[in-house]
């Protein structure tokens, strides 16, 4: 029997366990459709703000050993523009990522999507390179609770909090999101990092400090998923350096209900989703698993 790749992340049901992570390729419906047809269970949009943002000047993304450094600066067309575009979406499960500083902004943005089929909202509590939003919000647990609870009361769609490693213990941010009513957690975002060109002594990124993604951060992300799911009873989506089926399973064994893929798209292109799904299917056949949920958290037996 063919193993069942569908997953439930709290109230969110997806046909496959892999999603496109926020910030990657995410501004047009046509591209979303292509990613979905290539095996992603859902796509997460770029983080949308109340107004359009241009982001930082280049260089905004560069390769480093085993990963990428980026400080794109959350460039996005704004929630109203994106919502209008999304009204014509028919079949692609889209998780809308939102970024802002206060609960009123989030409520305004959620209202834009009233005529859209939103699979879930993912609140960006963890972007490490833009002031007053993202990680600066995540570092303020009281604010996190206020924002999550306002979004929860503004929509019936499930709400995910995406956390990262800031100056506050990220487990306190997770707790604050749970207190606000979050349905799930995505962990983790990129980790604050920088790179300097030795010849010119100049930071590579125009914003100097950015976030590190890719294989380099995977062991950190796996640890976070393991810790969150050990401490709290909330479904977690693993994110950080997933580039193969083995990586995806590692997150699932740590406790993740599903995974997101970002940087690997830059190395392996869109086929990475179907490759991961196929690898997981083969593994399940070999080991006799019939559902993804049977494998979630298996590393905790030891």
């Amino acid at each position: 029997m063919t193993p069942d790749l569908s997953v439930s992340i709290g109230p969110i049901s997806l046909g496959r366990p892999t999603m496109l992570a926020s910030g990657i390729l995410g501004i047009s419906l046509e591209v979303f459709g292509r990613i979905y047809r290539n095996g992603a269970g859902a796509v997460v949009s770029k983080s949308l703000s109340k107004e359009p943002w241009e982001g930082y000047p280049n260089p905004t993304i560069i390769g480093v050993k085993n990963g990428y450094l980026n400080a794109v600066g959350l460039s996005n067309p704004g929630a109203p523009y994106f919502a209008k575009m999304m009204e014509s979406n028919r079949d692609v499960p889209i998780i809308v990522s939102l970024v802002g500083s206060i609960e009123d902004e989030f409520e305004f943005m959620v209202k834009q999507f009233e005529n859209c089929n939103v699979t879930a909202y993912e609140l960006n509590l963890s972007c490490p390179h833009v002031e007053k939003v993202g990680l600066e919000v995540g570092d303020d647990p009281k604010l996190v609770t206020k924002i999550v609870s306002r979004v929860k009361s503004s929509t019936r769609a499930p709400v995910i909090g995406k956390v990262g490693l800031g100056t506050t213990n990220y487990l306190d941010t997770v707790k604050a999101a749970i207190d606000g009513g979050a349905d799930a957690i995505t962990a983790i975002n990129t980790i604050r990092a920088m790179g300097i060109d030795v010849e010119t002594q100049r930071p590579f990124l125009s914003h100097k400090i950015g976030g590190l993604s890719g294989s380099a951060i995977k062991p950190v992300a796996v640890r976070c998923v393991y810790e969150i799911t050990s401490k709290y009873n909330i479904p977690v989506i693993g994110c950080g350096g997933v580039s193969s089926w083995e990586d995806a399973l590692e997150f699932i064994f740590a406790g993740a209900s599903a995974v997101q893929v970002g940087s690997a798209v830059g190395d392996r292109w869109i086929e990475v989703f179907s490759e991961i799904n196929e690898g997981i299917t083969n593994y399940m056949n070999k080991k006799g698993f019939s559902k993804i949920s049977e494998m979630v958290g298996l590393a905790k037996r030891f």
């Binding site: 910030g23 990657i24 390729l25 995410g26 501004i27 047009s28 046509e30 591209v31 459709g33 292509r34 770029k46 359009p52 943002w53 241009e54 982001g55 000047p57 280049n58 260089p59 905004t60 993304i61 560069i62 390769g63 480093v64 990428y68 980026n70 794109v72 460039s75 996005n76 067309p77 704004g78 523009y81 790179g195 060109d197 010849e199 010119t200 100049r202 590579f204 125009s206 970002g262 940087s263 798209v265 830059g266 292109w269």
Partner: protein, 270 residues
């Protein structure tokens, strides 16, 4: 196998060539970039200013690569104003390349869009007969004619300069001149790079005559490697799936010739 770098490497500008009153070519040493395929590009970092996608100009000497830039916006002007001895960063090469067919081919370019076409000319097959149409505003802005003759010296070839004001070569747009040419000559393929409205017309003309056509496109780019999505057009990423696209795909595109994305990702009309 090509070496593809995702981290900028610093290169020193060794020579600056004035092509026209508004166009300059900057020469560096870089073995990998010297040999890229026609249509591929590099991300060029002007430290402290920006990093922009640039086609790589063919140089006669081995191991030399060059960037040809027209002074226009902030970033291109900053690159244009650099002097010999100053440094830039380069990473790449990225993107796909032209599919060079056998037989008689037309290369149709405007301005710095000639850069990938001259590289295509360098990669031309022995059996190719090459007609190069070069468009510019006026005589002052005609460049690369000599280089094109040099690159194509072993091929049967013809170079037709077109100026909008008629001060040099044929008078009119390259599209008009190509239209007349297509009435009398048969081509096996047409390749184009330049302003998108020009390319859009050329693709329509070729498609209507059933001639194989490819265009090398430009979009706002940030990563250059298919991660950020800034350059998306329909369901493709111009940096990764392109920059070269076939006429068949372009004919069905909702965006080609009509819209491009601003830095925020909002679609704007051409």
């Amino acid at each position: 196998m090509q070496n593809v770098s995702k981290t900028p490497s610093i290169r020193t500008i060794e020579q600056v060539i004035d092509e026209t009153p508004t166009v300059r070519t900057f020469v560096i040493s870089d073995n990998d970039l010297a040999n890229v395929l026609p249509g591929q590009f590099a991300m060029v970092w002007i430290p402290g200013v920006n990093e922009i996608p640039m086609s790589i100009m063919v140089m006669p000497e081995n191991g030399k690569a060059a960037f040809t830039v027209r002074k226009r916006g902030v970033s291109s002007s900053a690159l244009y104003d650099l002097k010999v001895g100053q440094q830039i960063g380069v990473r790449g090469p990225y993107g796909n390349s032209f599919d060079i067919k056998d037989g008689k081919i037309a290369l149709v370019g405007g301005g710095t869009g000639l850069v990938p076409l001259l590289r295509l000319a360098k990669f031309a097959k022995p059996n190719n007969e090459v007609v190069l149409l070069m468009g510019s505003k006026s005589k002052d802005e005609v460049f690369f004619e000599q280089q094109a003759n040099q690159i194509l010296k072993n091929h049967k070839h013809q170079i037709i300069s077109c100026t909008e004001d008629g001060t040099y070569g044929e008078k009119g747009f390259v599209t008009d001149v190509l239209g007349k040419l297509l009435e009398t000559s048969k081509f096996d393929a047409i390749y184009t790079c330049g302003p998108e409205i020009m390319m859009h017309k050329i693709v329509q003309m070729a498609n209507s005559k059933g001639i194989f056509v490819q265009a090398s496109l430009e979009r706002m780019m940030k990563c250059g490697i298919g991660i950020c999505g800034s350059c998306c057009m329909d369901d493709v990423m111009v940096c990764h799936d392109g920059t070269v696209f076939d006429g068949g795909f372009l004919a069905n595109s909702k965006e080609f010739g009509h819209t491009h994305r601003a830095k925020s990702g909002i679609l704007e009309n051409y």
